[in-house]
């Protein structure tokens, strides 16, 4: 996927300004950066849920795209029905949905009303839902922000498994440098709406070139 001319302004303030960036298939990209650096806006503009200030170009090359927002909506029906919303073949996908729920350890909740789930459980259900869509490009906005450590590790395992199985491109926003270290093949560091530095996970997280990236990593590396 190639994205070009992603711009978003609120009044005079530019919150996103990316000229061009390309994502390769079969890789997990972690977008890191401080609050207000434009990470979520980046995903929203690609997903089309936020209207950009200028017409962007998102070249998908016949690939399908799905986006999981930070605030996941749980429809007032069962957990299983929520997950099955993205099913293309009800009979075939039912088993896969149950498998995902089991891997996220919420299969015992599948017949419960999803609107009664906790924040972490809702996020786990939303991950199952987005992976059931079988999309080639998956955008995740802080998917584990509401989760405890166990759920975070389960989610990370599912993300890796999905990538391996489908060769999908997974682009995720995270506040955790250590999560980026555990999951990402590539890391994108953003500041003031721009991509300041990007490259392989090892390269960016171990030997960043920009002083802003170094400063950010020093400050946030102690977090889980």
């Amino acid at each position: 996927m190639i994205v070009k001319n992603l711009k978003k302004m609120y009044g005079e303030k530019t919150v996103l300004n990316i000229n061009e960036f390309s994502f390769e298939p079969g890789k997990i990209y972690a977008i890191i950066g401080a609050n207000g650096s434009g990470k979520s806006t980046f995903l929203k503009v690609i997903a089309g849920t936020l209207k950009p200030s200028e017409k962007p170009e998102v070249i998908l090359e016949n690939k399908t795209l799905a986006y999981m927002p930070q605030k996941n909506y749980a429809f007032k029906t069962t957990v299983l029905k929520n997950v099955m919303l993205t099913a293309k073949n009800k009979a075939e996908d039912l088993n896969l949905a149950k498998e995902y729920l089991s891997e996220m350890k919420i299969d015992h909740l599948m017949n419960q009303n999803a609107s009664k789930l906790s924040g972490g459980e809702t996020a786990r259900m939303a991950l199952c839902r987005i992976f059931l869509s079988g999309s080639d490009i998956i955008l995740l906005d802080e998917p584990t922000a509401a989760m405890d450590i166990e759920s975070t590790l389960l989610s990370e395992a599912l993300i890796k498994k999905y990538k391996k199985k489908t060769n999908a491109t997974i682009i995720m926003v995270t506040h955790s440098v250590n999560q980026a270290r555990r999951l990402a093949d590539e890391v994108i560091f953003m500041k003031d709406g721009k991509i300041l530095e990007s490259g392989s996970s090892e390269e960016i997280l171990n030997s960043p070139t920009k002083p802003e990236t170094k400063e950010f990593l020093e400050f946030f590396s102690s977090e889980i």
């Binding site: 089309g48 849920t49 986006y67 605030k71 429809f75 839902r129």
Partner: protein, 229 residues
């Protein structure tokens, strides 16, 4: 007072044809006007909430202003439109239940639209972000949104129904409170009171209060369910 209430209850239990006719006309009018107002008000409220167009804020303010339109003003406008000198005189709506329903629809639709706009403005952004993110079709998004808001929609309908059944100004001007034709509970209470027939007025008052109580209980139960969800 006690004597009047006792007689009123006796009258309610008897099969008084005039009383039955008043209740029947009232319910026919209220159900018709509240359903039509719901069918018009929900799409209008959804449009005001979800569509982006110039002058949207002005239209929302105008709708909220219309919510507070005095019923007698609405009655006057309808009277002029339907009367012998009005542009809609050929429809012969003056002093008919249909004319009363139209007047009530004008009064209730802004209330339904404003309620719909309010609850959709708080619920729709999260729903739409999720459905768009998942690549669901517009049809699926619409059905999901309507299902999510079913209790709010029903609650809005009941608010419209309550407004309709309690309304007197517009229906008396447009309907004329003609016995066995357009006399509804509120106009009949006024007429019986002015004639000194307090027993009949009180009977209708009790029935009206019972219906209002029932509507309010239903609204309350649904509001609780919405709060729980």
């Amino acid at each position: 007072m006690q004597n009047i209430i006792e007689k009123a209850i006796e009258l309610m239990l008897s099969h008084d044809s005039m009383l039955q006719n008043i209740i029947s006309v009232t319910l026919r009018m209220c159900f018709s006007s509240s359903i039509v107002a719901l069918l018009l008000g929900v799409p209008l409220g959804a449009f005001l909430s979800l569509a982006k167009f110039p002058g949207k804020k002005g239209l929302i303010v105008l709708n909220r202003t219309l919510m507070g339109m005095p019923p007698v003003v609405c009655g006057l406008i309808c009277y002029i439109l339907f009367s012998g000198v009005g542009p809609l005189r050929h429809l012969e709506l003056l002093y008919t239940v249909s004319g009363m329903v139209i007047a009530q629809v004008i009064l209730i639709t802004p209330i339904v639209a404003a309620n719909t706009e309010t609850f959709l403005s708080s619920m729709a952004p999260d729903i739409l972000e999720t459905t768009k993110g998942l690549g669901l079709s517009r049809w699926k998004t619409m059905t999901l949104t309507l299902t999510e808001c079913k209790y709010q929609i029903l609650s809005t309908y009941l608010v419209g129904f309550a407004r309709s059944i309690a309304e007197v100004g517009a229906v008396s001007m447009v309907g004329g409170a003609i016995v066995y034709k357009t006399n509804v509970m509120t106009t009949a209470i006024m007429n019986y009171t002015s004639r000194g027939d307090f027993t009949r007025a009180m009977s209708l008052g009790i029935i009206l209060m019972l219906i209002s109580l029932l509507v309010n209980i239903i609204v309350h139960v649904f509001s609780e369910r919405v709060a729980e969800k």
